[in-house]
């Protein structure tokens, strides 16, 4: 984005956020809650305790990597909506590697787990990628179907073959030995050293997309595949490669969740987190830097909303409502502007016509 575009983008983003909070306040009021109290509880929920700060930083990491994975796909013109499934499969694979290799050095286990997560996530993203490129099957439908399939399959593994030996643990895999856990950075919060790896990943993704020749080829492929193809870029290869990396990133997020927070696999590893990352990517208009910035904002919102639910009894889903209203405004921004402009012009034309008629009568 050019600087001037960036200015107007952030202006309309700020306006959208304000309007979204206003609409959120109306919905809260209608549902019988005090909006001022609710929003105050939301701020409190995110910042009152250093633990919560750790939680939102961890969630920002999840949103950021998921969002960047989505950006990577959309850059070459393919929407990876299947990150949720890739994340879950990556998580369960990484977890199982840790369980099976129990007793080995952590310098061996952690890389193996990361590789397993990336391989499984990447391969799972490859299916819709190849289908899109070779057969031209709409990737949105296939990825969403594959999400449900992956979620059910992981559930099956966690209840059946890979079940936790403890009978009281329903639908969870075996637990990792504490020596493999990522070190927690803020005590009793979700924040672990995984965020450092994530930061490196985010930087690399940004660097490759914005600063390298490959990044330029990707952009060209997404914007004008025919032109890209005829200028000698192997577009099919690039699309499939991007999908592979995108899936591998999602798989790694799954590993971070297992080794950093849950320490075993269960379905609470991700509650549609990829979709929230995808939403962030949409609001950021698939700009990597904006994705990174906005993931902090939306992570604060989410953790704040969870705190609000505990302290003020307001259902935390108000967060989803506010987030989607922001998307609606951002997606319609151009349209609203031109509609209003066209309306004003029509009014002006009608007024001029009326004046003319008046003159001819008078």
């Amino acid at each position: 984005m050019k600087n001037r575009d960036k200015g107007s983008y952030f202006a309309s983003l700020a306006l959208s956020v304000l309007l979204a909070f206003a609409i959120g306040a109306v919905i809260l009021a209608v549902a019988g809650f005090n909006p001022v109290q609710a929003y105050a509880a939301m701020v409190d929920g995110a910042f009152s305790n250093v633990r919560h700060v750790g939680d939102f930083l961890e969630y920002a990491m999840v949103l950021c990597i998921c969002g960047l994975a989505c950006v990577l796909g959309s850059r070459v013109g393919i929407f990876n909506v299947g990150g949720e499934g890739q994340l879950l499969l990556g998580a369960i694979a990484a977890c199982q590697v840790g369980v099976v290799m129990n007793g080995q050095s952590k310098w061996l286990v952690l890389p193996c787990a990361a590789l397993a997560a990336m391989a499984v996530g990447g391969f799972y993203a490859l299916i819709p990628g190849v289908l899109k490129v070779k057969v031209k099957v709409n990737e949105v439908i296939t990825t969403i179907m594959l999400n449900t399939i992956a979620a059910s399959f992981c559930q099956f593994l966690a209840k059946g073959p890979w079940k936790n030996p403890n009978r009281n643990m329903v639908a969870a895999t075996g637990q990792l030995d504490p020596q493999y856990w990522f070190t927690t950075l803020i005590p009793s919060s979700n924040l672990s050293t995984a965020i450092l790896i994530a930061a490196v990943m985010a930087f690399l993704t940004w660097y490759i997309m914005q600063k390298t020749a490959v990044g330029f080829e990707m952009k060209l492929t997404g914007q004008n595949p025919r032109f890209a193809f005829f200028s000698g870029i192997k577009t099919d290869k690039i699309v499939i490669l991007c999908m592979l990396i995108s899936g591998a990133m999602c798989g790694l997020v799954g590993m971070f969740r297992v080794y950093g927070v849950e320490h075993l696999y269960r379905s609470s590893i991700s509650n549609q987190y990829y979709f929230e990352g995808l939403t962030v990517a949409m609001i950021a208009r698939y700009d990597p830097v904006t994705v990174i910035l906005l993931s902090f904002f939306f992570a604060i919102l989410k953790i704040g909303a969870q705190g609000m639910e505990l302290s003020a009894g307001v259902p935390n889903q108000i967060y989803l409502i506010i987030q989607t209203v922001i998307i609606f405004f951002m997606a319609a921004e151009n349209g609203i502007f031109t509609s209003v402009q066209a309306g004003a012009q029509r009014k002006k034309a009608r007024a001029a016509l009326a004046r003319k008629e008046e003159q001819s009568h008078g």
Binding site: G32, F79, I321, T324, N334
Partner: protein, 308 residues
Amino acid sequence: MDDILSSILSPGTFNQMLRSATPVALAALGGAMTEHAGIMNIGMDGMILMGAFFGVWGSYMFQSAGMGILMVLAMGVLVGLFFALFTVQFRSDEFIIGTALNTFALGLTSFLSRSIFGTAGTKGNPALPTIHIPLLDRVPFLGAVFNDNSLFIYLTWLLVLAAWVFVYRTPYGFWLRAAGEKPETLRTAGIQPEKMKWLASILCGILCGLAGAHLSLGQLQGTFAENMANSRGYIAFACVIFSAANPSKAYLAALMFGFFDAIGLRLQDYISSDLTNIIPYAITVIMMVYVVVRGQQRRRQGHRVKAT
């Protein structure tokens, strides 16, 4: 093996097929409208979810399923208007608006459901009646499949017929298809394609709303659970693509989904339910690939015929 087969071929399976297919079929009818009008509508999942919630809410507030349906109709019109406002008037990205609509519906219905009914959700509200057809119960097999179903299973047949007649046999349907295929030609003929898109979007909102109402008020007897649409909107979208937006073919596609869903439910006695849940979704992916490959083959053959 024999009892697996006999359990799969029992009338119960085919009855379950009808039940599972109906919400998908209703949504697919709506999707056929927007598809013909040239709008890529992946927001159907959210529309179904809203229908499911507002149906139960109306039924709970007025203690009458009929009022629930009225509420769903009003909601369907509103959602359709909302969707058209963004995709047609503001020309926003259809993919973004569709995805956002799904998330918005998930947030709104969960928020309202928790505010009104608490975290446990609600059940046992006044539900839609089941229809008993006299004499049909004397027919073996067919009686057990087709009799005593929820109202919307029968209503769907009428709606499929109505949608087919509307799309292929009325001037409105003709304009609707033109709005998607050749909007400029339609404009030259003096009809604004945008108007047909608005119409398609509203019809889609209503039909998806009814799909949700059938799910919550019919199939589950007045129950609302969070995220109960469970990707049915996407399966409906796949059905629309399989059928090239032909309402009757879309119904058949939905029946196919229902059939595999029913088989999955039957097999639960033998295999883990988590694995059987996969069946309908996997079949959808396979069908997607098959339909696309088939279409490409046909087109290639078509070219060959022209060349000779």
